[in-house]
Amino acid sequence: MRYRRPGLDGLTHLLLIIGAVIFGLPLWLALTASTHSAGDLQSGIAPLWFGDQGLANYWQLLSQPMPGLGVSALRLLGNSLVMALGIALGKIAISLLAAYAIVFFRFPCRTLCFWLIFVTLMLPVEVRIVPTYGVVARFGLIDTYAGMILPLIASATATFLLRQCFLSLPSELFEAARLDGAGPLRFLKDFVLPLSRTNLAALFVIMFIYGWNQYLWPLLAANSPDHATAVISLKNLVQSTDTLPPWQLATAMTVLTVLPPVVVIVAMQRFFVRGLTDAEK
């Protein structure tokens, strides 16, 4: 039991509530602004409370092409979803196999392979962006989902985490599997995967958010509207030329863009915390 002074409890809650409110304010303002008309937002201060244009704004966003881009928000959100899922599932799939090979097999150059993969931790895509663009273009993958996804899964974070996870499995498990006569693939399917479910879910949450929120790479790799993502479209909306930014649409699009990853984090809070802190180990 902790030692506490009852008087402090009220203060604790108060401070936490203030913190939560301050942290929520930016999104709250976006939410309220997205329910006002363009005219309301062109003069005066951003409103703190809802207006009556919410339905109209969101409907316009979802049903009509976005100004400047010519594709609808649904398409953009769909592109983001494809990219986020592609990165999360792709990375988990190739990392799972690689980590499994490194932990459960002995073969020449095992350490070398491990280090080759490990080195990728040192150089995020932002640093090798110029030549990466060249390589992807050489394969004709600019403006394709594959081109948007592949360079971002060429990193070892997931391999690393899964290796840690597999190493922590009890070695009796392996013996049991051997008694069962299980080959490598059955061992993976029936023993390793079920026991790593939590870690895989945690990894999925982190990678999904990572993929959804990508900026620089899709900006370059998907520079036609057909493959643009929701995050990229926001920059286009706000930094529009020759006109005032359509803030009512920009804020509505912000809300739509932020929603999916926030829902994932809130719904999978347990895995999210696990996923983050796993990365530390």
Binding site: G19, F105, I129, P151, V273, T277
Partner: protein, 291 residues
């Protein structure tokens, strides 16, 4: 861990997808980066010339590079201090409460899910010269907010947006760290007559220091790379280069300036910097494992 013997091909098949992806999309571009750092090339790639270390000399001799280095360091320091300080405070508070702890955790961690670019835009909206709520609040107390012209205010804008975004990450770690501190330790100290502040500074903080150190490195890495999006969606590196970080400069020189040699040389320098950071982090992890 015991391993499968007598399977010589299987491990290679399992490793193949990752090795292929890493070879094509990591090692190839990285090698290309390394090679281009020693060449001067025109934008269209019609001709190139070996120049030895000249690109590195140009980069290291240019005041702009060192300015960007200074901006990055200051930026990292401010974000680390702000995001870690706030996170620690809120984590200590959240660790104290018995009721609603889970709700508070959700309410304080969701900004992690917001893309850095979007975080930048949300704060840009609050600081908009015409309709920004904060612009008007500041005007009411006599502060003229103009982040397009005032270097300090521009840096403040991206720092605040980054702290807002990065706080939740730190919060998760501090809270996890706090919950791992054995209650018996704090109890014993309390019986010895240590007040809450002495308990915090004498026991909690030292035990959290490895976490804090880890977060310091992670926050620096965050500022180095992730804040590119925050900057590009708000200040575009301005005014007067006040928010141009190393990665932003690399991008500008490579993609806007099309100076491939110069930007590749910067890539190599960044590689070295990240290598040092990774090494430090690795050493720290080793030490922790030894506990």
């Amino acid at each position: 861990m015991t391993t499968f013997e007598r399977h010589s091909l299987t491990p290679w098949l399992l490793l193949a997808p990752q090795l292929v992806v890493v070879a094509i999309f990591f090692f190839w571009p990285a090698a290309e980066s390394l090679r281009q750092a020693f060449y001067v090339q025109d934008a269209f790639g019609l001709g190139e010339r070996f120049v030895g270390l000249a690109n590195f000399q140009h980069v290291l001799a240019s005041p702009g590079y060192w300015h960007a280095f200074g901006v990055t360091a200051l930026f990292s320091l401010l974000v680390a201090a702000g995001a870690m300080g706030l996170a620690l405070l809120l984590a200590v508070l959240a660790d104290r409460v018995l009721h609603g702890a889970r709700l508070y955790r959700v309410l304080l961690t969701w900004p992690y899910a917001v893309a850095p670019a979007v975080a930048g835009l949300l704060w840009l909206f609050m600081f908009d010269p015409v309709l920004g709520v904060l612009t008007h609040a500041l005007a009411a107390i006599g502060v003229h907010w103009d982040a397009q012209l005032d270097p300090g205010q521009a840096l403040a804008l991206v720092v605040i947006a980054s702290i807002w975004q990065q706080m939740s990450y730190n919060f998760v770690f501090f809270l996890a760290g706090l919950q791992m501190i054995p209650a018996s330790l704090l109890e014993a100290a309390a019986i010895d007559g240590a007040g809450p502040f002495r308990r915090f500074f004498g026991i909690t903080l030292p035990l959290l220091s490895p976490t804090a150190f880890f977060l310091l490195v992670m926050n620096s890495v965050y500022v180095l790379f992730e804040t590119f999006a925050t900057i590009d969606s708000t200040t575009l590196g301005g005014p007067g280069g006040a928010t141009r970080t190393l990665v932003y400069k690399l991008y500008e020189d490579g993609f806007v300036g099309r100076d491939l040699g110069g930007s590749s040389a910067q890539s190599v320098l960044l590689m070295i910097l990240v290598g040092v950071l990774t090494f430090i982090q690795f050493r720290y992890l080793e030490r922790r494992v030894a506990y």
